[in-house]
Symmetry: C2
Subunit: 262 residues, 2 copies
DNA sequence: CAGTGGTCTAGACCACACT
DNA sequence: GTGTGGTCTAGACCACTGC
């Protein structure tokens, strides 16, 4: 077959048909990646589910298996999917035992979190309110929009260690109650997936040291003025849409925040 | 040619010739990666230098270009080498302007470190001493072995912000003086590369909040008891050999420690 | 222009999991 | 055995760099 090498596939043809001064060249596998990403966002495959095999996807998009493979490689590197040899590729989820606290970097000074057993969770408060300006900005809402605020304490081996305030946009999380949170056994992000279809994909944390105020000191059972780690986390779903703001105060007398740099 | 499919290359043949109960299967590209890594360690190519082209390496190791490519892909993902299309693959270095403070996660509350201009560095102390037990353990030395201790303050826009104590093993860093550090313009890790042939490859940080003691408070110009971020970093060369212990105290009133989770 | 890394394909075989 | 992801090869062409 004598065919134009730049149009021997549907996707490739569509790419080269782009108009504009800059051709905006983008590799085929990147385009395939975007297409798979859209299916993930649209919920075509739910967290924990098996996605079609590389061969199937290659047939669907009319490209070779190698091209699909490279697209999935990148998605796997970003922790959006998980590959398992012999079984297939699965949509990543927070509900797995292996990656229980994927966004929690606090470690006991000896051992790891698993060796401490599960954390005891105590919900202090859960209420619906109108977003203050700073919260609204962080969640890409308008000031005054409905948000849920949740406050809880996590204790390890009987010692209160983390005090967290969580803000969630009211729309996507309509119907979330303190009771539902208290009765749910797994990680909070797993509940978000199963009950609200919101999967947190990545997060940013801004960390500071500050002195415990009266309220925090009481809840964490430390003296007022005790230095605490302030960890402000913004968590994002697909497409960099912020879906959670979380302000944590960590006691660091028996634990530390661990970070790997490379 | 009728040849055994598992022995059509030197490296592959060597791999399949391994004895032992567990065949310890390792993909070809992983073995190639180890070989390239050894050349990097041995200093066959120095930081900043061009390594041989993929074709050359493929010829050297008697494998296909694709296999070399996959090995280099992983090295690039680990920031050990840097690829530049049309030019070649270079050994990574701390002396590049783009990645100036690769291990420093402190950011001004608005803008970034570059917008603040270069930090002012003030060396407080630099002395040779025998390693206390905890320092020795972190650096994989014996207690009492010679170490260099260095203390310095970094200021941004006139405000002292970071107080650092650095411990280095005496052997590899023989001859390092406060004067050499003061006159050197670039990042400390770049000096380590050019003068001592020590390239830091990755690091771990343990972070805590603590109250400023008298000495720290004076150097950072904050009240005694002010909450500070304590950042304890262990930096490693090739092969996970620890080469530096660094204890930093960060003021977080105008800056914060930024971490990306995924 | 030649040389480099980057993309894409096609086909073979290997390792693993289920049935 | 069948199907999955994982490895390896070989060859073609594209995009970028510098002579």
């Amino acid at each position: 077959m004598a065919i134009d090498p730049s149009s021997f596939h549907d996707v490739a043809a569509a790419a080269s048909a782009q108009a504009g001064a800059t051709p905006a060249f983008s590799p085929l596998y990147q385009q395939i990646k975007v297409l798979i990403l859209k299916s993930l966002q649209a919920g075509e495959w739910k967290p924990g589910e098996l996605i079609p095999s590389e061969m199937d996807l290659a047939a669907r998009f009319r490209v070779s298996q190698g091209t699909v493979r490279k697209a999935i490689d990148e998605l796997a590197a970003e922790n959006l999917v998980m590959r398992r040899q012999g079984k297939g590729t699965f949509v990543a989820t927070h509900a797995e035992h292996q990656v229980q606290y994927r966004f929690l970097r606090l470690m006991p000074d000896s051992g790891d979190l698993r060796s401490e057993g599960p954390a005891e969770r105590q919900i202090i408060d859960c209420k619906r309110l109108r977003a203050p300006a700073d919260i609204a900005r962080a969640l890409a809402l308008r000031a005054g929009d409905a948000v849920l605020q949740l406050r809880r304490v996590l204790s390890f081996q009987g010692t209160p260690t983390i005090l967290e305030d969580v803000w969630l946009p009211g729309g996507p999380f309509k119907g979330l109650t303190a009771d539902r949170l208290a009765t749910y056994g797994g990680p909070m992000y797993a509940l978000f997936e199963t009950e609200f279809g919101v999967r947190m994909v990545r997060a940013e944390e801004n960390i500071r040291a500050l002195a415990a105020d009266v309220a925090s000191a009481e809840l964490l059972k430390v003296p007022v003025g005790e230095p605490l780690l302030s960890v402000e986390r913004t968590a994002y779903t697909y497409n960099d849409v912020p879906m959670e703001l979380r302000r944590g105060l960590y006691r660091t007398d028996t634990h530390h925040y661990k970070n790997e740099l490379s």
